[in-house]
Amino acid sequence: MSGGVKGAARWLGPTSSSAAAEALASMEPEQRVRIVGHTQEAMEGVVTLACAELRGYEHSPADQTLVAATGERLGEIEAMLAEHGQRISVFPLTERQKGMTLGALLGGGKDVASVQRYGRLRESLIGAEFVLPDGTRAHSGGRVIKNVAGYDLAKIMVGSLGALAFVTAASLRLYPLPRRSVRVRAAADLGAAVALVDAANRSGVELATCEWGGGEIEFGIEGPSAAVEAAVTRLAGLLGKEVAKLEVDEGDSGAPSLALRLAEERESFDGILVKLGTRLSRASALQAEIIAEGLADEGVWMHSHLGTGIHYLGVPGPGGALGRLDLLLQRAGIGGQLITDPGPGRGSVFVGRRPGGLTTMRRLLDGFDPLGRLVSPMRTSIMEETGSAV
């Protein structure tokens, strides 16, 4: 295990789950712990437990499964799998995401453009190993793609922001790399983009990605060459007066896809990012309400994994925009979550309609972390929303 002391803050990078379990079991009960990927930044009075040094994987190409320690970097996993003509369900990755650990991807519940085709990471997560804050080691799921034995503890780790356990390994279902992959882009406002997605869905074209932002829509189309060709022709046939022209990109020009450009914009944004989900058909109404509320004039912008109804709102801060957005989303019955860490003492990450089952979430935190050891914005939020002491 590597580690260091930075002032009163300690950074621990265990190299195995047993080392992590021992470290947690031997801590004083009141010791607080923060779980991270490879963040080096320390926090006063808190042990930072990083998965960055948990390395190693078992790849079974013929079974299309990967069991990887959560310190493995996404870019390395991607490159290794590509040699076998395979990939995980999460693509395309920005340069920054390639340097991320699998643990950070999982705990952060990050979504990328492939959510259109393969769903969220939870859909391809078939098992996990983890250590609870009291040092209890456990696993759920396994290495087979089909399995309904016991509760699916692995999936609840996705997006838990380190509030439940230190995840040390994850098993993933893998997918074949497509034989051909093209991107099709068009200028489209949100209303036209929604109409185009609807038309594409009805036309039988299977979309691998479906991104909207900055007045453009981009579809990723994958498959056997002839099928891709035919899908592009079909999409062109769907164009109407709102969307006049499609630009087809085979990905060989070196120019980044819209999916990557938008993801990079979000990464470099220095305001507050809110992630939320709606039905596809509500996207334009939401945008209209944001404009009517004057929030667009204050610089609030929107990106979408449009086919799935997952959206991001960028809120330049500080200022009153977030508070007004919160109220607007509450009125609209839309639930959102800040994905920019609001930092300690900044309160709940929830905005808009609050998620169902908050009391059960609190009981889950009590059950997994009865000592209240983990420092996590998810924990802070659930405690605050349920009126419990953090």
Partner: protein, 492 residues
């Protein structure tokens, strides 16, 4: 305050429940009627409930659950009763809350591709209703014309087409549930992203132990434009297994790859006359779907992979009628086993796909040792085996050997890195086998999750997790877990 005895509490429950749902919806004293709710599709487990409540809406379910919670009475949710692991068997002294009458399809939105349904709606009914909109609900258990969406959610059910499209968990956006404390909550949202901890995922596949589903938001898919189906015969299960691997290695994810051995083929053929070859050792049903161009390209490759692996004959479905006939045979496999023997045990285990051929060889050896016959049908693409252990129930010795063999098969699955269940669930049947896959730490954490939803242990107790009462006490001194000592968890 003295705690009233169970019988006193049950009497009070019986007095009050009629006021919550209407007398017509409660079965209280009719022994024959109560007894028909005593088991699910796995009839060797049976327990007559004290009361059956047939709920009409979410509020009734909530109110009955709240009454159970107040009086400390155990309950079980029940859909169509087709479960194959004893999941819907009532707890002793408990209440059945049936959601089978809640059959409304509330909404199907063709733009959002969402269906909102009550839990009693049959799986197939959703696709039938959505068909004019060009949509369907992908998970397709063989029992789909009967089994309910509520039961599918509870079991995280799969089906033949789950290789490409995924299981119930991949197609449910949200559920409204009556939690065991009598509150109604929506877990999940109308898009795959919902803030907070992912309780939706925790609930899916929880086999009725975390509460009762009262409404479900389903993700609907566009009907594929083209589908092609073939049956390929092979001289051995090994060569059929090799063909499965070859297809997958070529980067193809077919909509379905199902395998049957000679005995299973014989049974299906006798039952429905699907036109399978009776002189083959194994057959694969392979289906590819998608756009016409995609299907055209992939179908030819599937055929070549089969040919390269020594396929002796390929039968191609010429039209929808022939495709339906091919599937009818496969979907009738469980029932058809009754043509081969007076009784049989349907086993459900999973192995890594690449271990299929060797596991089948080992199953044959175990069957020979036990002096029994085993027919094999399975979802070959995802390694989900359904060995059907045939036996004569009039022979006590044979019945016992059959049970032993079924257990050995599932243990074999675990030994080679698989699972004790791929789709039928743990229920009562496999609660004691959980220890083969999970150690004390794993089970302890699962218990913590269960306690977070159901602190009093009243929702379908005795299922999923092994309990000392069910599985026999583990030798050694009983040691209370720190969570038990702190009152945060209880064993049940």
């Amino acid at each position: 305050m003295a705690i009233a005895s169970q019988s006193v509490r049950m009497e009070e429950f019986k007095r009050r429940v009629g006021g919550l749902v209407g007398a017509g919806e409660c079965i209280l004293g009719d022994a024959a009627a109560l007894s028909s709710y005593g088991s699910d599709g796995l009839i060797r487990f049976r327990q007559t409930p004290e009361v059956v409540v047939i709920a009409n809406n979410a509020e009734e379910v909530r109110a009955v659950v709240a009454l159970c919670s107040e009086l400390g009475i155990p309950f079980v949710g029940r859909g169509s009763g087709t479960g194959l692991s004893g999941g819907a068997v009532p707890p002793a002294g408990g209440v059945v809350i049936a959601t089978s009458a809640m059959k409304e399809i509330v909404e199907i939105d063709p733009v959002d591709r969402i269906a909102v349904v009550e839990p009693g709606v049959a799986n197939l009914a959703v696709s039938e209703r959505a068909a004019p909109l060009g949509l369907y609900y992908a998970p397709d258990p063989s029992s789909q014309s009967v089994c309910s969406i509520g039961g599918n959610v509870a079991e995280n059910s799969g089906g033949a087409h789950c290789l490409k499209y995924g299981f119930t968990t991949n197609h449910v956006l949200a559920m409204e549930v009556a939690l065991p404390d009598g509150t109604l909550e929506v877990l999940g949202g109308e898009s795959p992203f919902e803030p907070g901890l992912d309780l939706r995922s925790a609930f899916l596949g929880s086999e009725g132990t975390l509460g009762i589903v009262t409404k479900v938001w389903l993700r609907m898919l566009s009907r594929p434009e083209a589908v092609r189906t073939l049956v390929a015969d092979f001289e051995s299960v090994e060569s059929a297994g090799a063909a499965v691997s070859a297809i997958i290695a070529a980067g193809i994810v077919p909509a379905a790859i199902e395998m049957m051995d000679a005995l299973a083929i014989e049974a299906c053929e006798k039952a429905v006359g699907a036109g399978y070859s009776l002189d083959t050792a194994a057959a694969l049903i392979v289906e590819v779907d998608g756009s016409q161009e995609e299907v055209d390209a992939l179908y030819e490759e599937v055929k070549s992979s089969c040919a390269l692996c020594g396929c002796t004959k390929i039968r191609e479905a010429a039209d929808q009628a022939e495709r339906s006939r091919i599937w009818l045979g496969r979907k009738a496999a469980f029932a058809a086993a009754g043509r081969l023997a007076p009784a049989y045990i349907v086993q459900d285990g999973v192995v890594p796909r690449t271990a299929l051929a060797s596991v089948l060889g080992r199953i044959a050896e175990l069957a020979t040792e036990a002096g029994l016959r085993v027919a094999n049908v399975f979802h070959a693409g995802d390694g989900n085996l359904h060995p059907l252990v045939l036996y004569n129930p009039d022979s006590a010795e044979e019945s016992e050997s059959a049970e032993k063999l079924a257990t050995e098969i599932v243990e074999l699955c675990v030994e080679i890195g698989g699972s004790i269940t791929g789709e039928h669930g743990v229920g009562l049947e496999k609660a004691c086998s959980m220890a083969a896959m999970f150690d004390d730490g794993d089970l302890d954490v699962m218990q913590r999750l269960r306690t977070a939803f159901d602190g009093d242990g009243i929702s379908n107790p005795g299922k999923v997790l092994p309990s000392p009462r069910l599985c026999g006490d583990v030798p050694g001194r009983y040691r209370a877990h720190p969570l038990e000592l702190s009152g945060k968890a209880v064993r049940f």
